[in-house]
Symmetry: D2
Subunit: 256 residues, 4 copies
Amino acid sequence: MRLIDLNADVGESFGNWRMGNDEVVLAIVSSANVACGFHAGDPQVMAKTCEIARRNGVSLGAHPGFADLQGFGRRPMPMSAFELETLVAYQIGAFMGIAARAGMPVAHVKAHGALYNLAEADPEVAGAIARAVKAVDPKLIMIGGTGSPMEGAATAAGVRFAAEGFPDRAYADDGKLLSRKLPGAVLHDPAEAAAQAVRMVIEGLILTVGGKLLPARVETLCIHGDEPTAAAVASAVKLALAGAGAEVAALPRVLG
Amino acid sequence: MRLIDLNADVGESFGNWRMGNDEVVLAIVSSANVACGFHAGDPQVMAKTCEIARRNGVSLGAHPGFADLQGFGRRPMPMSAFELETLVAYQIGAFMGIAARAGMPVAHVKAHGALYNLAEADPEVAGAIARAVKAVDPKLIMIGGTGSPMEGAATAAGVRFAAEGFPDRAYADDGKLLSRKLPGAVLHDPAEAAAQAVRMVIEGLILTVGGKLLPARVETLCIHGDEPTAAAVASAVKLALAGAGAEVAALPRVLG
Amino acid sequence: MRLIDLNADVGESFGNWRMGNDEVVLAIVSSANVACGFHAGDPQVMAKTCEIARRNGVSLGAHPGFADLQGFGRRPMPMSAFELETLVAYQIGAFMGIAARAGMPVAHVKAHGALYNLAEADPEVAGAIARAVKAVDPKLIMIGGTGSPMEGAATAAGVRFAAEGFPDRAYADDGKLLSRKLPGAVLHDPAEAAAQAVRMVIEGLILTVGGKLLPARVETLCIHGDEPTAAAVASAVKLALAGAGAEVAALPRVLG
Amino acid sequence: MRLIDLNADVGESFGNWRMGNDEVVLAIVSSANVACGFHAGDPQVMAKTCEIARRNGVSLGAHPGFADLQGFGRRPMPMSAFELETLVAYQIGAFMGIAARAGMPVAHVKAHGALYNLAEADPEVAGAIARAVKAVDPKLIMIGGTGSPMEGAATAAGVRFAAEGFPDRAYADDGKLLSRKLPGAVLHDPAEAAAQAVRMVIEGLILTVGGKLLPARVETLCIHGDEPTAAAVASAVKLALAGAGAEVAALPRVLG
């Protein structure tokens, strides 16, 4: 039976501000990317998110981002490799502290927002993240795009890597995500996202906007929780995967 | 031979701002209390501080404080036990992430500033800190005043405790530190501080401002790095202890 | 015709986080207390809030608070008079900069959260706020409780003062607000709040929980926007005041 | 007699962290660029800086920067025109609030660090700054490079502009500052800086690293306070200018 992980960004509230619908999202996914207090989240939000994840049997991951709360970590900030490495090590460690308090292990790391985007394009950024992951805990799994600099960096650092697919995002003919600035970049139709999920997981293929079929390896699917259609898309994806014979499982089990 | 730890607050720079003289202080002490980014420090400063500590063979400790950079963690902020516990767990974990990157273990935790002061007076605050320490890593040692709520909380939580003495601070007749607002609260004379250190460590006694001799148990002496006379005081203390037959050693060795 | 101002806290979103329902609240009130970026709000949120206020013909006020975003300015932070004065002057000025960009004047200042509460109890805190208001712009009006240290401080500093009443809060027999920790502290029933508003504005009386009738002078009523029942309460208060012959007007017109 | 302004960045301390030598620098220059709390400075530091400026008869300017304390505003952060405009309006206003408390007017605005650099290269960024300056107070003077996008933006917005020269920086043959990454970018020799200042102010010329003489108009010279040689350079520049018949005066007088 084909195993597939579903991951989602959670714990993005801050202080008195609520964001997302973690109770709903964590009832669906198998892995939680928990904001670590730099772009979102705070120690209390992180601790509460761990509790919700525990109740739902969801595996925990750190979701480090740039130190830009007001910009939600979506503005790239030029930093040296040393700065990036310590930025990420700090946040992974902080989350491990909070998770330990909840008696839970941390299984993976997924970079957030502009940090993720930079790492998908720049091997230096990807390398800094991978080295931080390796240094803090060599058993951690790093999530990134198949064939991206992050995969290369993880391999080079000796870090286990999980290739990520986006069921609700359109892919350009070069295999990359279609820019969010272009129409049709986000698939709001649950059926369309579900079909893309099955195609990726079961057939190992991506259908691009130009009609090309590209080979794809995915070990985890990114589920968005912040769109109004998010829960519907996530449920449809999960149901379709089950119908196609895949089983949703957390990353450590998927990677064996 | 009597073993005694010397601890000092370090890593208190932030971004482009320098504070303290970590190179000098870390050449003297055996344990470093490293600021964790909330009241001072940042991921890069923390990483550099670990390197200096490593070069000097100094044992590392987390130095968590209130999230008040502008006030340097010296303003008490009322927080619930849950808030305090997660505040501390986050910072310990963050420092463990940075220390792990440097390949170094974290041996102890000492609360900073207003958080330390509250914990010396309020068992609820002390309890929250002790539970955070225990949860993140039960091998960590917690530093606090002898007989203070922190000692009680550490014992209750099953956390090893190290009793701290202040060689350069005057003690009131009730055995507590004389308020810094009173004249003579800080001993700037290296000889005076050295004599107090020997009295505490070798004789197990504190001489109060009123001339009383109180029994004292100390496993670690707090060395201040931020006064102009700090290095002279620290050196004098260390020399006098050696002369009196004590050996400076990091906390794990002192506690056995 | 009796004139009365209605004020509400708005602009409490931050970055990507939304809070409150400013569109609804600003369609009801005559004065807006706009968060200044320390406990909530940011330059963009402040600018957008000014635009909504302008469309609704609402008068602007600065709503300075403690620099504690995560705690929403609700944790008291001990500060000297100099620190408080500059804290408040900074935030008033910042809001005047944003309001000037929108081509709008700033008419009043109302302290937020823990800063308001401290100023209602401590003449030193109230004095620092009043001096800041006076220094930044002597035409500004300061809002506070009738007969509170804030009124005394405003008078001493030569700052115009507007006495505030709370139609949806119960009053203790000493004329102070009943603690939110006690049952019945918040009047969720629109009819009850409306009756209290009319009693305060038209009759100049407060009915306490113990059944006492105390004389009250109010120039502005505080309308809460963050409770689920807020809009209903605000509408009922406004309607009842109109029915009783009062006219809602912004503070500068109320004070003449 | 030729009038020339000397400006310097000051007020760059934060909380307990000291930076720069404002007492020395403000005894030399005629205009102070005061950090506004986003990249450096805080309300108390700003207020104290105003006092030092007042004692020295120095004219005040706001020195807005990116909201990146840890990076000291030296990391460019991509922001929309609306975001930049409100970012700058907020900081100018905040400083006007603090200056008003000190009874002092604010005469100019100079962008800091990465914000200045972006505005020297990108007309959209320059335009956002100029519109913010104009909106907050149309009498404010904006400092930037001669012929830069900032000059164009100031002119378009109807804001008075002061062209800035750098006596202690080498100029490339295109008239721009030589990158700090290249050797010889900073002139540490007081005599060399003094000669360059006289050449700029009295002769209206810039001598480039390639030996070209370019026409230059300067109304203000930037004096750096953060290099070890800063005070020596500044004094030499001032003395040489006096010897060459120029008089140091604050910007409002220089621009007439």
